[in-house]
């Protein structure tokens, strides 16, 4: 064998390699010669072995499939063993071609996404400077106590008042740390949130409780602050001013003392 070095392309998987081989042949996927393809495919695997590349199991499975297809072709139609349960639709050749066509379409779609991605990097949104208006200037009265908050969350919990005696037990979908991230994101977008808005999308009691714990934790960490503009107005949540840190919610840590928040506060 001639001594030459091949610059080896790294293929994502066996389908990727097959598509590459088909492209090299310059034929339509539907008209590809699977036997030739099988040979070339195995050649590649040999090369990979020579180069000491780790061959993923998927490549071996594909090689086996190709060999099976090739071996089937060696027999005339009449002599082929009828594989049990195999119907016309299960023809291994067809199955492979179908898979290749489908994969190719998604590869093309990925290219289109890539084009959109680079286009988006060049699109600039209009972001006007934040103007100070009267409405913003009104100083909120930062005197919401933990009891006010508990009262408010009780109102929200009433939405889910129906207690279920029997229910499926499933993994908790929500964690305090996830909800903390969610709240931080929300406040980053809106800067002021109504208390009720925090619970707009919740679907269960547990989620209300978890969201509430996240809120308490953020207040304790002085990330957020709860304010009430006037008596009986709805409680609003906004980012805590570093200077104006209100001494509210003295120690909700007792309530939030779960393993989740522990790990966060360290």
């Amino acid at each position: 064998m001639a001594e030459y070095k091949v610059k080896f392309e790294v293929f994502e998987g066996p389908l990727d390699l097959l598509l590459y081989l088909i492209k090299k042949e310059e034929v339509d996927i539907y008209e590809v010669n699977l036997t030739r393809l099988a040979e070339q495919f195995i050649e590649y695997i040999e090369t990979m072995r020579l180069l000491d590349l780790e061959i993923a199991g998927e490549f071996l499975v594909m090689a086996a499939t190709l060999m099976y297809i090739k071996s089937r072709e060696l027999l005339p139609v009449e002599q082929r063993a009828e594989v049990e349960g195999e119907e016309d639709g299960d023809d291994p050749r067809w199955e492979l071609i179908r898979q290749l066509v489908e994969y190719k379409k998604f590869k093309d779609a990925a290219c289109q996404l890539q084009a959109l991605e680079s286009r988006q990097a060049d699109v600039f949104a209009r972001v006007p400077a934040k103007l100070e208006f009267e409405r913003e200037a009104a100083l909120p009265r930062p005197d919401v106590s933990i009891f006010d908050l508990v009262n408010a969350v009780n109102v929200v919990l009433k939405r889910f008042n129906k207690r279920e005696d029997l229910r499926d037990i499933f993994e908790d979908k929500w964690t305090v740390s996830e909800k903390i991230e969610y709240l931080v994101r929300m406040i980053g977008e809106r800067s002021i949130l109504k208390f009720s808005e925090l619970f707009e999308g919740v679907t269960s009691r547990t989620e209300v409780v978890v969201t509430f714990l996240a809120l308490l934790e953020l207040i304790r960490l002085k990330q957020l602050t709860a304010v009430q503009r006037e008596p009986f107005a709805e409680i609003e949540i906004c980012r805590a001013e570093p200077v104006l840190v209100p001494a509210l919610a003295a120690s909700p840590s007792a309530e939030t003392d779960s393993s989740d928040t522990q790990s966060l506060s360290t």
Partner: protein
């Protein structure tokens, strides 16, 4: 005053992209700020659908006027953005956008499959791609482009995944309907050709005498090498 110009003014000065719902709330609140203004009162109860169609109209007008910016809807919210052609100057002005590194080819492929086929399980994605997607999924989940959306009602109840609104924002898409060739890719129907070509035309040769089953001589002959024509499809 026309509705579309009010919308234009709102989006022109908005701090962030606005959804039709948010715009509707603004119209509902506007009469408070305009004593006796007929237009403001008249538009108090404007419907979201009307806002939507007016915005479409406005967006079209901007496109036709061929200005350097467009009114676009990304992930359901409307905003003004510049055309990509002006990027060099804008980059000099405001610097490069802070964007996470470009997605790798495997990530894009996986993302494309999820985008078109959601909700989809990991196993289904792997079936299309032919390789394991664990690492890639991790990246996509970490970047918030996909999320768990539920569980498939099959054995083991595996998680299903879908794209997030961050996905739409990242690619500047209005909705999932806005994906290129959405209908075609959502359910790819691959037409099976009439006669399947064989793996290697002419490979299926007449079996040696002793291998033929009695009474099969005739059909075996019809199966002799035919290099130019595709041998018959399997039964």
């Amino acid at each position: 005053m026309e509705l579309k110009y009010i919308l234009e003014a709102l989006l022109f000065s908005a701090q962030k992209p606005l959804s039709t719902k948010e715009l509707r709330d603004i119209f509902a609140a506007a009469p408070e700020h305009a004593e006796g203004d007929e237009t403001a009162r008249g538009l108090k109860k404007v419907k979201e659908s009307e806002l939507e169609s007016t915005l479409e109209q406005l967006s079209k007008e901007h496109a036709e006027a061929n200005r350097s910016y467009r009114l676009v809807c990304v992930a359901g919210s409307w905003q003004f953005v510049t055309q990509p052609d002006y990027a060099p100057w804008l980059k000099a002005l405001v610097g490069h956008k802070i964007r996470p590194p470009r997605l790798s080819q495997p990530s894009l492929e996986t993302l494309a499959i999820i985008a078109y086929r959601q909700p989809i399980t990991r196993a289904e994605i792997e079936q299309v791609r032919g390789v394991a997607v664990d690492g890639v999924m991790q990246t996509l989940l970490e970047r918030g482009l996909v999320e768990q959306v539920g569980r498939a009602e099959v054995v083991g109840r595996p998680m299903t995944y879908g794209t997030t609104s961050a996905f739409l924002e990242y690619f500047g898409l209005r909705s999932l309907e806005d994906l290129p060739a959405a209908d075609e890719l959502r359910r790819i129907v691959v037409q099976k050709p009439e006669a399947l070509m064989t793996a290697d035309p002419g490979l299926a040769t007449v079996p040696p005498e002793q291998l033929s089953l009695p009474g099969e001589q005739k059909s075996a002959e019809s199966n002799s090498p035919a290099p130019d024509t595709a041998p018959p499809a399997p039964a």
